[in-house]
């Protein structure tokens, strides 16, 4: 962790999306700070090198390097960072969040589950190296809404579905709570690994505040103002020059979500078929046992087959449990992720639409006022910031998607291999039993 020494100052300055975010709204990169912004930051040599500059639009007006906000930016680590660029895990982590220990609370009004959220960090923004708080789903939901409001240009990871079909799913069953816990854990981990989102003020409050509700109430008044600035409803407005890459991402997401939906259905169907197979198999094994009871010489072989089928049942049950617990949630997360992504894309389009509308207006008045007014410039900046933020996030998302699916699908293959290996061992072990007795005559 390289947050010590000179590095300390930099991270504070960089993630302007941190504590200052509220004041800087709607976006930390908002043009209001564009004049001082670069002046303030350019002295730091790090800023010119980070990958976002190499790969992305260098003409960012304010130059605030969103993507470099990883606090580990002492110059000595620069080379390392560049080399590790392709490796998602190569980014230095200094914030570790886990969700565990679900507890059921029964009050007169409602019954709910809280989860323990433990934070370990070396970041200077935190007063203590370790925090432990209890949060319920509502709080996660609040956090996500806050993140969406305060970081409109970023892709916010999805939360597990809020609503469950009553009667179909038992919200307090061990399996449901565990699946949700995993999803919430993933949600916080994705945020804490994010170079910008992890510095969000609401996030640190969520992680540290003893009384989150008090903070929530206090925030209500403040935030009601800024929400408006994002609301540009551009009903029916056709963008003149939507960057190709964003259009492509939109199309990609459509197909992606569709395919994941299909995979989800197939996986569920397989689990269902496996469970039905299991039911039959559970009846099948004991029949051999019954038969064994009738026989003398064949008793042992038949018992052996029965036991073997029993072992295969256990293996099959493990397989379908694993698939239910590990495979399906990841698919769901990514289906929701693609929804989040679509939402950000929509917001981006709105910001661009606003800019284009303004451009048109001045085009008409050009004769009167040759100089481009400041507010249009501001608008252009905002579009460009948005594009930069989003592009970086999309790249991150693509990377983690690739990694997650590689892991997920390899895991699926592994689980199946393990299942067959267990069955194989079981069947191989009974062969000697069947051959053992020397044949009479």
């Amino acid at each position: 962790m390289s947050t010590g020494g000179s590095g300390l100052g930099t991270p504070r300055a960089l993630p302007s999306s941190g504590p200052r975010a509220l004041r800087d709204m709607p976006h930390p990169l908002a043009p209001s700070s564009s004049e001082e912004g670069p002046a303030e930051l350019t002295p730091s040599p790090d800023l010119l090198l980070p990958r976002s500059f190499a790969e992305k639009d260098l003409s960012l007006p304010n130059g605030t390097p969103v993507d470099t906000s990883s606090p580990a930016s002492s110059s000595s680590s620069l080379l390392n960072r560049l080399q590790l660029d392709d490796d998602f895990d190569g980014e230095t982590r200094d914030l570790f969040v886990t969700v565990d220990d679900p507890k059921k609370h029964i009050c007169t009004m409602e019954t709910y589950i809280t989860y323990r959220v433990t934070t370990k960090t070396t970041r200077a923004e935190f007063d203590l190296p370790e925090y432990s708080v209890r949060r319920r789903y509502q709080d996660f939901d609040w956090l996500r809404n806050k993140l969406e409001e305060s970081q409109p240009t970023h892709l916010i990871p999805p939360l597990p579905e809020k609503f469950v079909m009553k009667g179909v799913v038992d919200r307090f069953s061990e399996e449901f709570v565990e699946t949700r816990r995993k999803a919430l854990d993933k949600f916080l981990k994705r945020i804490s690994d994010h170079p910008v989102l992890s510095f969000n003020e609401h996030f640190s409050v969520f992680l540290t505040a003893k009384d989150l509700n008090a903070y929530k109430r206090q925030g209500m008044a403040l935030l009601s103002k800024m929400g408006e600035s994002v609301k540009y409803v551009t009903g029916g407005y056709k963008l003149r020059s939507r960057p190709l890459e964003f259009a492509a991402v939109g199309e990609y997401l459509e197909t992606f979500a569709l395919k994941l939906g299909t995979i989800d259905r197939i996986a569920q169907r397989i689990i269902k078929e496996e469970l039905e197979y299991l039911v039959e198999l559970r009846e099948y094994g004991p029949v051999y046992s019954t038969w064994g009871g009738l026989e003398v010489e064949l008793a042992e072989p038949l018992e052996g087959v029965s036991a073997c089928i029993g072992n295969c049942c256990t293996a099959l049950e493990e397989l379908s449990d694993d698939m239910t617990e590990d495979f399906l949630p990841v698919l769901r997360e990514y289906i929701l992720y693609s929804e989040s992504m679509k939402n950000v894309l929509k917001k981006r389009d709105q910001v661009q639409a606003e800019y284009e509308a303004k451009l048109e207006t001045i085009a008409l008045k050009k004769e009167e006022r040759p100089k481009v007014p400041a507010d249009v410039e501001k608008c252009q900046d905002r579009v460009e910031c948005f594009n930069a933020d989003l592009k970086a996030d999309m790249e991150r998302w693509q990377n983690s998607k690739r990694q997650d699916f590689r892991q997920l699908l390899m895991g699926m293959a592994d689980k199946n291999i393990q299942y067959y290996e267990k069955c194989l061992t079981a069947w191989e072990s009974i062969i000697p039993l069947l051959q053992d007795k020397p044949e009479t005559k």
Binding site: I266, W291, I431, T440
Partner: protein, 403 residues
């Protein structure tokens, strides 16, 4: 004993099945399957000159006739069963149609197995009718019917009577009958569940085939992941397709079990025959006892039990001594006859028990051997299925790892 078997002298095979149309007894058109039986003397082969086999066609009903004949003529033998007439215990993918090529093929194997089993049996392999079944196409039916075997067949009613009225059944045979009942029920249960297991397994594999398509479609929109997905999809297709062969092979195992399901019935037939003989014996003994009693009554003039005869003699007066003498004489003759009969029935019964038990012991040995082999084959099949599964998933994993 085995050396004298017909199966050592000639090679028997049912090599072909053919669909035919003909007219039945009612002059109605019917379709049936005929099977080509080929026989070849083993000796001619060892001499090096491979003579062409003798061959003839038989249909299923003729096999049935042969078996019925054997059942009646060899009541103390566990006669090998025929393959099923109609497909039973099949999983949904297999057709239950009698003319279905797969079914006909499996029946062909079953019929061949039946002929080989009969030909390998130390006693029934020597039967003349069986030999002509293999070698003489025309006039065989008439020949069977001339043996009048149907007259010797026991009526069902009589058999049923015997079941309920035998006073002192042989424990060995009642145990055996009980065993065959249980065996039949356990094997039919097993076959039923196995068919369902096969159905479900089929489902599990086939649904994986859907991954094949969706991976391939998904791969079209991915850059780095595309190739891996595409080829993994191919492996999922392979996986889904592999189940067809696996289950087809498993059907052979089911057929082996089915043979023993029908053997249970053959075993029961022997037990039934024993019951019947025991019943006959008991009836004869009872008859003899009552005759002896009558004789004694006449001789001593006392009526021990109330009888119609006693009543009439009281009502209509005593018979003359001459009449009585005559009656006693007739009775004594009958008693003598009955004693002889009883003696021969006893001997017959003892012989039956002896030979039947010998065959049952032979059968048990054969059963243990066959079923052990069937179970080994089944385990080997499962092992190969597991290995195939591991292979496919390992290949798929490699594709995923390249994503």
């Amino acid at each position: 004993m085995m050396e004298d078997c017909l199966s050592k002298k000639i090679e028997i095979s049912v090599s072909e099945a053919e669909k035919r149309t003909g007219r039945n007894a009612m002059n109605m058109q019917e379709t049936y399957t005929a099977y080509l039986i080929e026989t070849r003397a083993v000796e001619s082969q060892t001499e090096g000159q491979c003579s062409p086999p003798d061959s003839l066609w038989r249909r299923y009903s003729e096999f049935e006739l042969l078996r019925n004949y054997l059942l009646v003529n060899y009541p103390h033998i566990v006669v090998p069963p025929l393959p099923e007439k109609r497909a039973e215990f099949v999983w949904h993918k297999l057709s239950a149609d009698n003319m279905d090529p797969d079914f006909v093929e499996r029946r062909r194997i079953g019929l061949e197995n039946f002929l080989i089993r009969v030909a390998s049996h130390p006693i029934i392999c020597q039967d003349k009718i069986f030999y002509s079944f293999l070698t003489q196409e025309g006039g065989w039916k008439e020949m069977v019917n001339e043996t009048g075997f149907q007259l010797k067949a026991d009526s069902r009613l009589k058999a049923l009577n015997a079941t309920f009225r035998v006073k002192s059944p042989d424990k060995r045979f009642t145990d055996l009958k009980h065993y065959s009942d249980e065996l039949q029920s356990v094997i039919s249960h097993l076959l039923r569940v196995r068919a369902r297991v096969a159905d479900r397994l089929y489902g599990v594999y086939k649904v994986h085939g859907n991954y094949g398509r969706v991976f391939s479609e998904w791969s079209a929109i991915e850059k780095e992941m595309g190739d891996g997905l595409q080829s993994a999809g191919h492996h999922m297709d392979v996986y889904a397709a592999s189940i067809d062969d696996i289950l087809e092979e498993e059907e052979h195992y089911a057929d082996q079990l089915k043979e023993y399901l029908f053997y249970a019935e053959a075993l029961r037939a022997v037990c039934r025959k024993h019951e019947l003989m025991q019943y006959d014996l008991e009836m004869a003994a009872q008859d003899l006892t009552s005759k002896k009693q009558q004789c004694e009554e006449l001789a001593t003039g006392t009526v021990r039990t109330f009888s119609l005869k006693g009543m009439t003699s009281k009502l209509f007066g005593q018979e003359t001594p001459e009449q009585r003498e005559g009656k006693i004489k007739v009775l004594e003759e009958q008693i003598h006859e009955g004693e002889e009969q009883l003696k021969s029935k006893n001997t017959e019964g003892r012989e039956f028990v002896e030979s039947a038990w010998a065959d049952i012991e032979r059968f048990k040995e054969q059963k243990n051997r066959d079923l052990k082999e069937a179970l080994i084959n089944y385990a080997v099949m499962q092992i190969s299925m597991c290995k195939k599964g591991i292979q496919v998933w390992t290949n798929a994993k490699e594709c995923f790892s390249k994503m």
